[in-house]
């Protein structure tokens, strides 16, 4: 049994900001997915792909234009929490634009917190902690293979932008249930792995993409993303790639096993229910390997959320 890592890296001290962002745009995406574009210059300047925000989704405050008194009375205690989420919700950065001081998040409405978050509109304030966690290590120079399951495409979009900016070649394999439940637009320009359908945003950014769909949408690979990955790994030169994955636990577990067998290096972004988000409460753990054959629980919020695929006990 390993002993949990207790202390913080001193280089992270003071790095987490509590910033009140201003929603610039609120866009329903496909299905029950939603995009918020938020002006938060301090966090936008610092956040890296794979890092996340811890958002207090208590619903937008009364809009200034609706107010009859100024300032609005502060709701207190139970009134403030009643039927509203109490815990913050960890959400990865989807796109970032430090020059404009903006970040975007793309999320699936899956419960009280994310449903409240989807109600925010332009002009609303949103209370965020960030940047949090260890993001993707982008120091390598190998061509990148990004593998997404469902909403896992959100943090991988920020990563794709970063890697393309560095001049790295990016290939994206995405799995989805059907086109209607996929958060991003599809295009028909892709021709890799026998797929005509790719992701429009990835195409715009200069990445190559292919999609697997369980519903067998036209132009996609019918089935799971692991099917696409199998085809990819059979290609010459596949072993030169570095992989980055994000998706449901079972998908990441299978994808990691395939990547490890094929000998590719890889990083995975994990998700877990969180309390504090800053390493104190030990709620959001995953099992990882230590030196030797031992394993321990690591904190997803500060030791991750990005882990080496060989470090995680899947």
């Amino acid at each position: 049994m390993g002993s949990p890592k207790p202390t913080t890296d001193s280089e992270q001290n003071g790095s987490v900001l509590q910033e009140t962002g201003r929603v610039m745009e609120s866009l329903p995406a496909y299905g029950n997915h939603h995009i918020l574009r938020i002006h938060a210059p301090e966090i936008a300047a610092a956040i890296q792909p794979g890092q996340f925000l811890h958002i207090y989704c208590n619903g937008p405050a009364e809009r200034i234009s609706d107010r009859t008194t100024d300032p609005a009375p502060e709701p207190s205690g139970l009134e403030r929490l009643q039927r509203k989420p109490l815990l913050r919700r960890p959400i990865s950065v989807f796109r970032r634009d430090p020059a404009e001081g903006e970040i975007s998040i793309l999320f699936r409405q899956a419960g009280l917190g994310t449903e409240a978050l989807a109600v925010y509109g332009a002009g609303d304030n949103v209370d965020m902690l960030g940047p949090l966690g260890r993001g993707f290590d982008t120091k390598g120079d190998a061509p990148a293979l990004l593998i997404a399951g469902g909403i896992g495409i959100a943090p991988l979009t920020a990563l794709a932008a970063e890697l393309l900016g560095q001049g790295r070649q990016v290939t994206v394999l995405a799995g989805m249930r059907d086109a209607a439940s996929f958060p991003l637009l599809l295009d028909n320009s892709s021709t890799i792995l026998g797929c005509k359908a790719g992701i429009a945003l990835m195409c715009e950014m200069g990445a190559i993409s292919a999609i697997a769909s369980e519903a067998g949408e036209p132009g996609t690979h019918p089935g799971l993303v692991t099917g696409l990955l199998k085809m990819f790994l059979e290609q010459d030169g596949a072993e030169d790639y570095e992989a980055f994955i994000c998706g449901p636990g079972i998908m990441m577990s299978r994808v990691s096993a395939m990547l490890i067998e094929a000998g590719l290096p890889g990083q995975a972004l994990l998700e877990e229910r969180m309390g504090c988000g800053i390493g104190a409460c030990m709620a959001c753990v995953c099992r990882t390997r230590t030196e030797g054959d031992e394993t321990e629980y690591s904190r997803v919020c500060v030791d991750g959320p990005v882990f080496d695929i060989r470090e995680v006990v899947w």
Binding site: V16, L78, G279
Partner: protein, 322 residues
Amino acid sequence: MSGGVRMNVEVAGVNLKNPVLIASGVCGYGLDFRRLADYRPEAVGGLVLKGTTLKPREGNPPIRIVETAGGVLNSIGLQNMGVDALIRDVLPQPVGSGTAVILNIAGHNVEEYAEVAQRCAAAGGFNALEVNISCPNVAKGGMAFGTDPCMAAEVVSAVASAVNGRFPVIAKLSPAAGDIAAVGLACVEAGADALSLINTVPGMAIDARRRRPVLANVVGGLSGPAIKPIALLRVRQVFLALKRAGKDIPLIGMGGIVTAEDALEFILAGATAVQIGTATFYDPLIGARVAEGLEEMLLDNYRCSGRETDLDISHYVGALED
């Protein structure tokens, strides 16, 4: 302190600059919060560190936390580094940065509690020891010690003799005790210098679609505003029982405190100090805000009444009119 407000209180010989402490379990070992750019530990009265056992514990499997109506259910399972690492790696660091540091200890049996207490007391570098006889999330020990007055007394007595007067001993009581006042009195007779209450309330959450408990450990401890009325009643019961028994022992109240008004309610019920836990999850700087809010409430009271005593927080302790 500003405008003549007296916020400092004394709990079991420890002078706290204000009565607002951060509860065990939400502030780790006091070091993680330093990641926050605006962190000011000196704005609160003290930090209670993560419950520590003799050997390191890896804790329960995930899922460990789930939000429920007005509260949070957790089952961490006392994941901690063990007392030796605490002494070696944490206590030499500036954990409190000018605020009181209270260690929280737990064990599987009486001997383990005593051993942990002995090692901590020998090492020093903290202000008081809180004995967790009320954790609902470990299979053996934990809460069992806190529901039975005799067992509680046995643990507290062993810890008190191990510490041997070098540090104050605080017993943390469980709301799961049938008669919490009896457990509290037993702890005091066994040598507790203060009592803190309440720990989380045992509960469970169910995922109806999967027909499974949400938490891997099935049982968790409920905290947050949902438990505040339970906690207030327990504080009041223990306060009155101690008073009847002629015991002048301070209480540290907790359970769902979110605002300064919540904190003052606990103080009126009989708590000399309070702890904030769950609320730090949505506002990591809430301790400072509650402390400042309390100060403002005292000033407001003074402005209305003109009574000097309204400026002194210790005059509110147990001052509930009933």
